[in-house]
């Protein structure tokens, strides 16, 4: 077993597959952007399958929530070392912060193309100051969060990992993201007229699931940085991934998420509250079972096994499964809150049917490919493998 020098990898000799991924994702981004704009310019939001009588917030909105919550989760992972001094996580901190920025920016981009007048928001939000609106606060806190993230990244990129200022900015970004994602949770959780969402603890649910997708992203992208070859990783990183800390946290988060998903579903199925009928519909959908069995139970079992969970292939597989599962979860969450018509009868009979349009898929792909593009650019230009020990 050869141990590559810690200092060589981040500085030069990037594995080809980061380049390859960059090329592919740039191509995908370009294509999806073209198709998205083609749809939007020819049909406006008529290119979406969302409708006033049906699903108001569709796949792109789910993608937004998915991406920003992933950003949240990545910040949590980074904070394990940055704030809570679990120093073994230092090797992934910088990459995670950059990824948090990438997912957040990608999320914002998706949202911007999803709403009617994104540029108007720039003046209407500050001039309106609608403090009663969770979405207003979401905008505020995510903006603050983005600024702190960028600041923090700038600090550590400048090599300042541990100064009081750096620590304070890290703390601020952690606090702002907790608040931001809490308000995002409240965007849904406060909607008493949408019983599937209505839940004072919904921000906690978002917190946990955000953490899980953050970890999964961190694992996947770390492997990606090294061509899915753990042998190429620097010692500390390799130690982190082959040790029990990362996979243990991963397993714990999957377990908690699994529990929450199951409990939410049981509550939904059991309760007579009008609007929760949608759960009986959800449990009949193959997507739900893919999310539950393949995306959560299987990785959970894998991560529980002391031998399997150390294997790179298992870790990679599990992270991919969880990433997909979380996406399904966000989509299902988004749609299920709207699937029961507010009133039975005309013009919609039964449950609202919704299939995302090509443009909606393309917009979602814009968000996802943008994450990869930003990440690979960062990987090439911003020394994402750096960590204090490397200095």
């Amino acid at each position: 077993m050869t141990t590559p020098s810690q200092s060589t990898l981040p500085m030069h000799g990037l594995p080809l597959n980061v380049n390859g991924v960059m090329k592919i994702s740039a191509a995908v981004l370009a294509l999806s952007l073209i198709l998205t704009f083609y749809g939007l310019l020819t049909q406006g939001h008529g290119a979406f399958n969302t409708h006033s009588y049906g699903i108001t917030w569709g796949l792109p909105a789910a993608a937004y929530v998915y991406l920003v919550l992933t950003s949240t989760g990545l910040t949590f992972v980074a904070s394990l070392a940055m704030l809570f001094r679990f120093n073994e996580f230092y090797p992934v901190v910088k990459r995670c912060i950059w990824l948090a920025i990438a997912t957040l920016v990608a999320g914002f981009a998706t949202l911007a193309l999803e709403i009617g007048h994104p540029f108007r928001m720039l003046w209407a939000l500050p001039s309106g100051l609608q403090y009663l609106s969770p979405m207003f606060w979401m905008g505020v806190f995510y903006t603050v969060y983005l600024l702190f993230l960028l600041w923090k990244f700038a600090r550590i990129h400048a090599g300042d990992w541990t100064s009081l200022q750096s620590y304070a900015v890290g703390l601020a970004s952690f606090v702002s993201v907790v608040v931001a994602h809490a308000t995002l949770g409240m965007v849904f959780g406060m909607m008493a007229m949408r019983p599937v969402w209505y839940d004072g603890m919904l921000p906690i649910y978002f917190l946990v699931t955000a953490g899980l997708s953050g970890i999964a992203f961190a694992i996947l992208f770390t492997y990606l940085a090294y061509g899915f070859n753990r042998e190429k990783m620097p010692e500390a990183l390799r130690g982190l991934l082959s040790g029990s800390a990362f996979s243990g946290v991963f397993a714990a988060m999957i377990g908690i998420t699994l529990l929450m998903v199951i409990l939410r579903t049981i509550t939904g199925l059991w309760s007579n509250l009008d609007g929760l009928q949608v759960y009986s519909h959800i449990v009949r959908s193959p997507l739900f079972h893919a999310e539950l069995w393949l995306g959560l139970v299987l990785p959970f079992v894998l991560m529980l096994s002391p031998t399997l969970r150390r294997k790179p292939s298992i870790q990679i597989t599990s992270s991919v499964l969880v990433i997909v599962s979380m996406f399904i979860g966000r989509y299902e969450f988004m749609i299920s809150g709207q699937m029961m018509p507010l009133f039975k009868g005309s013009w919609i009979q039964g449950v609202i049917e919704y299939t995302p349009s090509l443009t909606e898929w393309m917009l979602t792909l814009v968000g996802i490919s943008l994450v990869f593009v930003l990440y690979t650019v960062g990987e090439r230009l911003l020394k994402l493998a750096e960590h204090p020990d490397a200095k």
């Binding site: 001039s127 309106g128 100051l129 609608q130 009663l132 009868g345 005309s346 013009w347 919609i348 009979q349």
Partner: protein, 842 residues
């Protein structure tokens, strides 16, 4: 005239200044608001936006000149008065006229859609001729624009040529919803002067002749009834779609609001084959087997007679007041009963009603016996009570008898001509036309040779001796060359190529007929046309509209242009006059003397000089100003078995039986006939057609309906509330609201009972094929528990293959394509709801 309106009176032009309330947020106001808002988080809501909104209000809004034109709606025959709002030459709103008795300030859902019809982008924009000699569904007519002169000259030359050859009968003029003297009223003189029995052939045999015929047979009036809803306490409605399709629809609904909240509240029972909004809004809905309404009515009569619930004042009574009508069904000696205003009651009992017990009717109709008895008792014990029928019960082979049985209930309850009952419509006091057509008949027109030719639809011939018109037979007869082939056909407000049963016959027939269409819309008949002479749409048209039967007293609306015609179109009445002017001889002279429709209207309005309306209309100018002439009250009333005539102050003049016979009960007996003399005149024909013994044909009776089509499910095809007789077909707004009961906003769903569907493995919302012996169409089926398991209901909407971009090829297919072309032999009414079909997954 720029007067500010002071009321509903005298609005012709309303200059309206759109004023703005400019309110500036003052510092003091701000302070007060802030104080008032206090500490509550919620109450601060909206403060910022309010300020923004206020400040941004236009500082000085432009003044608009809004003109309100009094006119008459044209989306059903109801003739509601409308206020058309036009600003800067654009129509942007229509509301019901407050000062119009029919609309009373309201309109049905269709009324508000008028501007969309005016601005229909698929309208014809001027006269055109066909350049593609091939005709058919898939043939583009390749119309090219021509001048009005060319169009009118072409038509006139063609008609003149036919006349010169002695074949003027081979010209037919087919019309639908005629309005008054200035359009449909011009047709009869045209036919007589020209010499064709086929000018004009009306569409009423494809509409509602059954109820008219039943009323003629029993009370001598070949007419729809007028109703005094506001004073009735019981409505027993058979078919009709009182809250969807029955006319005048707006007025029905205005009345509904009153009669469902007045004291005592009017009880309503609805008999239909599916639960429609009328049935749902009523106190009781009876879902009856199609075509069996007569059986139910007879059973109600049975209960009314056996329980002594008939109106003794109107009907009469046994001499000793002892009821001999027994549920055991024994015959009664006619001599023991003294009839007042009815004829043949005991014979009717002996020959028919005694057998028609609720138990018997329950078998026929599938309505539980106890429901029948309950309805009969309610109806029989409530006064005034109206038994109302239209369409459904009459759209079967036994239609006239069904309708007679129902109308007989009105006689039994004494509601004929009574307050809160039903009667007939009076006509308006029109003046004479400037010239009389009788003075312009030339030798050709008067010749015996002209009288030799029967109508092409054979109405009045031995095939259809009792029918007044048989439009649905025209295509069939032309194809068969019996009695002859048509050469030229002109269409006004009718589109039988789409609306008739077995539409295929029309598509075939019109291929070798020179077709002239006057519709402004690109309908199916227009696609078969050789020449298009488009009418104005109704918001561009000047036209009289004497009322549809309403509350009896006379009324005549005036439809007036709200805007100048948008395109190069011409009023149909003027097209007829212009063709007439181009004919040789006295006919041309007549039309030159008639001048144009406006001249006709001016002469009609002269009648109001002698008989001014209640709203002060006393001539053409005031008619235009108010948009309607009317004169209350209805002149006659039956009260407790006595008939009175209005003497100017009250119903004070007692009428003699002769006067009643002349003016009201126009039967040979001068009474309501439970044994119809007019049917007995045709005893042999009826006996042959319906298999009834000749001596029984006069009685309202149960006749087993004949259901062609070869299927196992009844197909019933009603109109929905938004059905504007084709004019709404190309309006996306209409399509989006078409069938709210089942959520049909792109298509209209086939209503199918879930049991029926599951037996045929038809899933909810699945596309199905509806098949009969004459055709197949496709539709989406939707489960509905409100339809009988033996029946499917498909609203007669959509399925156009022309009519504009929104109408074309919209599923479901058109019900006419699977409806067998059979008619009630007595009334001639097309039996639209009698076909049976099979339904299967497509």
């Amino acid at each position: 005239m720029n007067n500010i309106p002071t009321g509903q009176q005298a609005i012709r032009i309303l200059k309206r200044t759109i004023f703005t309330r400019r309110r500036f947020l003052q510092l003091s106001g701000l302070a007060v608001s802030l104080l008032a808002m206090g500490g509550s988080l919620r109450k601060l809501t909206g403060f910022f936006a309010l300020r923004a909104a206020r400040a941004a209000q236009p500082m000085a809004a432009a003044e608009d000149e809004t003109v309100i034109t009094k006119s008459v709606c044209h989306q059903c025959p109801g003739r509601c008065g409308i206020d058309v709002y036009t600003t800067n030459g654009r129509v942007h709103a229509i509301y019901g006229s407050i000062d119009h008795p029919l609309s009373a300030g309201k309109l049905c859902p269709k009324g508000y859609l008028g501007p969309y019809i005016l601005y229909d982008p698929d309208r014809f924009k001027g006269p055109m001729k066909r350049t593609n000699p091939n005709k058919g569904r898939n043939e583009d007519p390749k119309f090219v624009s021509i001048t009005w002169d060319e169009a009118l000259d072409t038509i006139a030359a063609r008609l003149q040529n036919l006349r010169d050859k002695g074949e003027s009968h081979r010209f037919a003029l087919l019309y639908g919803r005629g309005w008054g003297a200035s359009d449909a009223g011009l047709q009869k003189p045209f036919g007589l002067l020209y010499g064709s029995p086929n000018v004009a052939i009306g569409h009423s045999s494809m509409c509602a002749d059954g109820s008219k015929k039943a009323k003629q047979a029993t009370d001598g009036n070949y007419s729809y009834s007028a109703y005094d809803y506001n004073n009735t306490n019981y409505l027993l409605i058979f078919g009709a779609g009182f809250l969807e399709a029955f006319r005048p629809y707006t007025t029905n609904m205005v009345a509904w609001g009153h009669l469902r909240t007045k004291s005592p509240r009017t009880q309503v029972t609805v008999v239909d084959v599916h639960l429609n909004t009328t049935g749902a809004a009523a106190d009781r809905a009876l879902l009856i087997k199609p075509g069996t309404d007569g059986a139910l009515a007879l059973a109600i009569a049975h209960v009314m007679l056996t329980e002594g619930l008939w109106d003794k004042d109107f009907v009469g009574d046994f001499e000793d007041s002892v009821n001999r009508f027994r549920a055991t069904g024994r015959p009664v000696d006619p001599a023991t009963f003294q009839e007042r205003w009815v004829h043949g009651l005991v014979e009717w009992w002996n020959n028919e009603v005694k057998e028609r017990s609720p138990a018997w009717a329950s078998e026929i109709t599938t309505i539980p016996e106890k429901e029948i008895i309950a309805v009969a008792r309610e109806f029989g014990t409530t006064r005034p009570a109206i038994a109302l029928l239209e369409r459904g019960p009459t759209a079967h082979s036994n239609g006239t008898y069904n309708a007679m049985a129902i109308h007989a209930l009105n006689a039994l309850s004494g509601s004929l001509f009574a307050q809160g009952g039903l009667f007939y419509q009076m006509g308006p006091s029109y003046g004479k036309l400037p010239v009389q057509y009788e003075d312009y008949m030339d030798d050709y027109a008067k010749s015996e040779e002209r009288k030799r030719h029967p109508r092409v639809d054979k109405a009045g011939t031995e095939d259809w001796p009792m029918a007044s018109t048989m439009m649905q037979e025209v295509a069939k007869n032309h194809l068969a060359g019996q009695p002859y082939k048509l050469d030229t056909a002109m269409f006004y407000l009718t589109n039988p190529t789409w609306t008739s049963p077995e539409t295929g016959d029309w598509e075939e027939a019109l291929k070798d007929i020179f077709v002239i269409d006057t519709s402004p819309f690109p309908g199916e008949t227009a696609m078969m046309a050789d020449i298009i002479v488009p009418d104005h749409t109704y918001l561009e048209r000047l036209q009289d509209t004497p009322t549809y039967p309403f509350q009896g007293w006379p009324m005549a609306g005036l439809r007036q242009p709200a805007v100048k015609p948008l395109y190069d179109t011409k009023a149909y009445g003027d097209v007829l006059i212009e063709i007439g002017k181009r004919m040789k001889g006295p006919m041309g002279e007549y039309y030159r003397a008639l001048e144009n429709t406006e001249n006709v209207l001016r002469h009609l309005a002269r009648g109001f000089e002698q008989d001014p309306g209640d709203n002060g209309v006393n001539g053409f100018e005031t008619w235009k100003e108010k948009g309607v002439w009317y004169k209350r009250p209805y002149h006659w009333r039956q009260d407790r078995g006595k008939f009175y005539e209005w003497d100017g102050t009250g119903y004070n003049t007692l009428m003699t039986p002769e006067e009643v016979k002349e003016k009201l009960l126009k039967t040979p007996s001068g009474k309501f006939e439970f044994k119809s003399a007019s049917l007995e005149e045709h005893a042999a024909y009826i006996s042959r057609k319906l298999g009834i013994p000749a001596e029984r044909v006069g009685f309202p009776q149960w006749v087993v309906p004949h259901h062609p089509g070869g299927g196992d499910l009844h197909l019933v095809t009603p109109k929905v509330a938004l059905h504007a007789e084709g004019r709404g077909a190309n309006l996306p707004h209409v399509i989006s609201l078409m069938q709210p009961t089942l959520g049909g906003n792109k298509t209209v769903y086939l209503e199918i009972n879930p049991m029926t569907a599951q037996k045929r493995r038809i899933r909810n919302n699945e596309k199905v094929r509806i098949k009969s012996s004459v055709g197949t169409i496709e539709a989406y089926a939707r489960y509905y528990h409100g339809v009988r398991p033996d029946t499917v209901v498909l609203p007669m909407e959509h399925g156009h293959w022309a009519m504009g971009r929104w109408a074309r090829n919209r599923l479901p297919g058109h019900s006419g394509e699977v409806t067998v072309n059979v008619s009630d032999p007595i009334s001639g009414l097309a039996s639209y709801y009698t076909t049976t079909v099979t339904v299967e997954p497509a």
